[in-house]
Symmetry: C2
Subunit: 351 residues, 2 copies
DNA sequence: TTTAGCACTCAACGGCAAAGAGTGCTAACA
DNA sequence: TGTTAGCACTCTTTGCCGTTGAGTGCTAAA
């Protein structure tokens, strides 16, 4: 939900007509005219009256015309108003809910496969693209194991409080024995267990600057290894998976315009930008909708994002959702995303 | 290289003209007529003569006409003949080779990032899609570490001879102590170090059937854990990454035909089919070319694959390559793929 | 054997008129 | 005063049609 202030007040009739335009356009992808609305919806108003109202709505910035003699199309502001104030909440049908639950992947501590499967599931059910971001930003450290691989290469496996496991291959400045590594691991576990990764990184940076670290060999080595372990982790802090991008080709708005389509597919290949967008969603509670130009990235201004965070216990693990054209079936997709996020949370929490 | 037998012998002139048609079509994506060839190539032949030869080539199945009054287009058989017998080997320019070497990712035992980066590199340089398959089929086991996570969950980390590291979370039937796990790991290391994963799986299956295993607790437990460890590994035996799929949208043959484009993008999303295709390439030494209908999968009949295996020492690690339209700049792409595969092999071998 | 000439085919292009959807404005109506 | 019918106007879409041009196959001459 965005701030609702700053809108000119719309009377009942204007709201109804705006709703009719948005819904009709979402269904047909054709600009909608006054005649169409007058026929298809039972407002008991003539096209002429509707025209007047639509002209008002256009002036207020909710609608626009592709060209003079065409019908109207919602603007981003129009979609926003629709999402925030007009659409009723839609529940998933029982069959659909059952279908999702049935297709739900099993979880055995390996997030990667779950993420991939969920994004596929979301894309199939929405017929748009599915997207999942997994973050370690608020992950809590539980334990690390250090395994000598060969030479100065060491495998650091760290287990998170949520039961998730990550591993990183790090290269030390000087070779150490497995015994030394064991001692270091013990130290790190004792010192940092139960703390968020974010904080640990900070602590290590602080300690390394402290004087006494210079004199204590174990401490010095521990900080070196710990630094590498947790710093390296940062690189994989966020993992993002997209599924079903081919679905967007079916959308008529891109069919005719291959230029836009190319732009969009390229945007989807550049994960870093998507991460930036979804990062914002991590802070939003509940189902979050981003419409077209509400993101700062021009190549996705023709898209909307519907997302929701998912958790393990009270830790935020990531965010999942659907990317589709602005002309998206919002109520349905929002219900789908909400339901799926709940299921994932359940899976991770009790798993 | 395919079998060269079974071709009607082509005389010098026919070969030249076939080559001209293929090259011209690769360049322009337009069906090529007799007039064009007569002008652009210095054969000293009139269009009429060329027409006769082209008619012969069409009868033999090397060329075809989209419609009566259009020029000719190579068939898959035509491309095949071109690739096998007509194109000269092309070397990468020094600048390009340098560019690749410079953009080459560093390697520190983590394959995942290398694979992703290589596929991106291949796609950027070829302007088609880059593809990399990593396989464990011929991987050799070096060492395993078993780490208790919580309850019956155990993290199995296995190091391969090539220095690569994989991990799998497995769930035991009964909880074990870290000490027991350590003993089991020792046993597995002693027993199986230096053997291919493939073979190990087989051995374990055999042993589990043996009678004496029933009486020896350590052995029984070891087989149970080993079975899970190596069996689980099979699931991730093959990993495939595609980069730059958006590039294919630029190809004129797909621009006009969104139906084909959709089909192709969907095919790219179904990794299992791509794996099947690339699996075949694993057995081919040298640069391998697959043209259109030479794969059994209809959705990629408009594409060609150019691939080459890469190695660590004498072990095959995977296969990399480029996927593009059949109308592909074969000599250039083949040189690129060859060079890149060599670099990767070098990286993995000395790394 | 090669080539010039010719009749033929067919996609592509441009122009044009008709159709159709939609609008804004005005005047009449309840 | 709000609503609506009517109307003139705009502009895209569609279909039609003739023209153009690239390309072919065939035949007959060099």
């Amino acid at each position: 939900m965005r701030d609702t202030a700053g809108y000119e007040p719309l009377d009942e009739r204007a709201r109804n007509i705006l709703m009719a335009v948005v819904q009709s356009f979402i269904q047909t992808a054709e600009p909608v005219g006054s005649r169409t609305i007058s026929k298809r919806f039972e407002f008991g108003l003539s096209p002429a009256t509707i025209r007047n109202v639509m002209a008002d709505l256009e002036e207020m910035g909710f609608l626009e015309q592709p060209h003079t003699s065409a019908g109207r199309v919602p603007t981003d502001k129009g979609y926003r108003y629709y999402v925030d104030h007009l659409q009723g909440p839609e529940a998933l049908s029982a069959e659909e809910a059952a279908l999702i639950a049935q297709r739900f992947p099993p979880y055995r501590g390996e997030m990667d496969e779950v993420i991939a499967e969920i994004s596929r599931l979301l894309s199939e059910l929405s017929r748009y693209a599915g997207i999942v971001l997994r973050t370690l930003a608020s992950a809590v450290f539980s334990r690390v194991e250090l395994v000598k691989v060969r030479g100065p290469q060491v495998l650091a496996i760290f287990v998170l409080e949520s039961g998730m496991v990550h591993h990183k291959l790090i290269t030390l400045e000087e070779e150490m024995t497995q015994d030394e590594l064991q001692r270091i691991a013990n130290y790190l576990n004792q010192e940092f267990a139960g703390q968020p990764l974010r904080l640990i990184r900070q602590r290590i940076a602080e300690r390394m600057a402290e004087e006494k670290v210079q004199y204590d060999q174990l401490l010095r080595q521990a900080m070196q290894v710990g630094g590498k372990t947790f710093e390296e982790a940062a690189k994989k802090d966020e993992e993002i998976v997209l599924g079903g991008t081919a679905n967007i080709i079916d959308q008529p708005e891109f069919q005719s315009n291959t230029e836009r389509m190319k732009e969009l597919l390229r945007a989807f290949e550049d994960k870093s930008r998507l991460i930036r967008i979804l990062d914002k969603c991590l802070e939003e509670p509940g189902v979050n909708v981003i419409i077209g130009s509400e993101t700062p990235f021009k190549d996705v201004h023709e898209c909307s994002f519907v997302t929701r965070t998912f958790h393990s216990g009270d830790r935020t693990i990531g965010v999942l959702g659907v990317v589709g054209p602005k002309r998206m079936a919002y109520p349905r997709v929002m219900a789908l995303v909400d339901y799926t996020a709940n299921l994932v949370t359940q899976l991770l929490t009790q798993g």
